[in-house]
């Protein structure tokens, strides 16, 4: 069965600092990978996705993620964090069979210090 691990439950960074959120997946075939963001009291919004091709993908709000098959990782990065980036971030994986049924990580909560 596929699984997703986000090792960091909570991360705190200073505004303007760089950010990396880790995501590791377990799946035998080629995964389709996603990062979502959830602001307090809201639903999830897609930040970016990887299906194939270039392993470095760009998303909204200045985020990017890199797919590394050898490490089974899909880490999310941002060069300079803004206070508005404070939220919870979820990594998710799905398959090419029953498309759309994703498995989510437990989430990483990002706090941004002024």
């Amino acid at each position: 069965a596929q699984s997703v691990t986000q090792p960091d439950i909570h991360i705190t960074v200073s505004e303007g600092a760089s950010l990396e959120l880790r995501c590791n997946y377990s799946y035998g075939a080629t995964p389709y990978l996603f990062w979502y963001v959830q602001s307090p009291g809201q639903g999830l919004q897609l930040l970016l996705k990887y299906f194939s091709g270039d392993t470095l993908v760009q998303g909204i709000k200045g985020f990017e993620a890199e797919f590394k098959r050898s490490q089974s990782s899909f880490n999310l990065r941002k060069p300079s964090v803004h206070w508005s980036d404070a939220a919870e971030y979820f990594c998710a994986v799905t398959t090419n069979t029953n498309a759309g049924k994703s498995t989510f990580g437990d989430g990483t909560t990002l706090t941004v210090k002024p």
Binding site: G41, G43, L44, L46, N98, G100, S102, F104, D106
Partner: protein, 114 residues
């Protein structure tokens, strides 16, 4: 622009009540999902549906049922609400296919069972 609408943002129900959570999407998506979100546990899939009148159990279906009589509407039913069903419930929809499998989420329903 895809829109997934959940009928209530907040609900308070009594133990033993039958509770209906409604979700409507306006983009003709085949797939619809109900997730439950609890702190530290990420998103857990309750039920999903890939077509009208079709449903499949997710990871935690106990105590829940669903109904999909029309393509755009997916209802989650708590037959007899219990306090351990107090949670945030998220509805999502997606296209069925290999390339467009990202999920679009509603804003969530925070249910409290007293």
């Amino acid at each position: 622009d895809v829109k997934v609408t959940q009928s209530s943002r907040y609900l308070v129900k009594r133990t033993g009540e039958k509770v209906f959570l409604e979700c409507v999407q306006d983009m003709d998506h085949e797939n619809m999902f109900w997730y439950r979100q609890d702190p530290g546990l990420g998103l857990r899939l309750i039920y999903f549906s890939y077509d009208v009148k079709m449903k499949e159990k997710g990871d935690i279906p106990e105590g829940y049922s669903v109904s999909r009589e029309k393509k755009e509407r997916f209802s989650l039913i708590l037959e007899s609400a219990s306090t351990n069903q107090t949670s945030m419930y998220l509805c999502a929809s997606s296209l069925y296919g290999t390339e467009n499998t990202e999920a679009f989420f509603g804003q969530g329903t925070r249910l409290t069972v007293v």
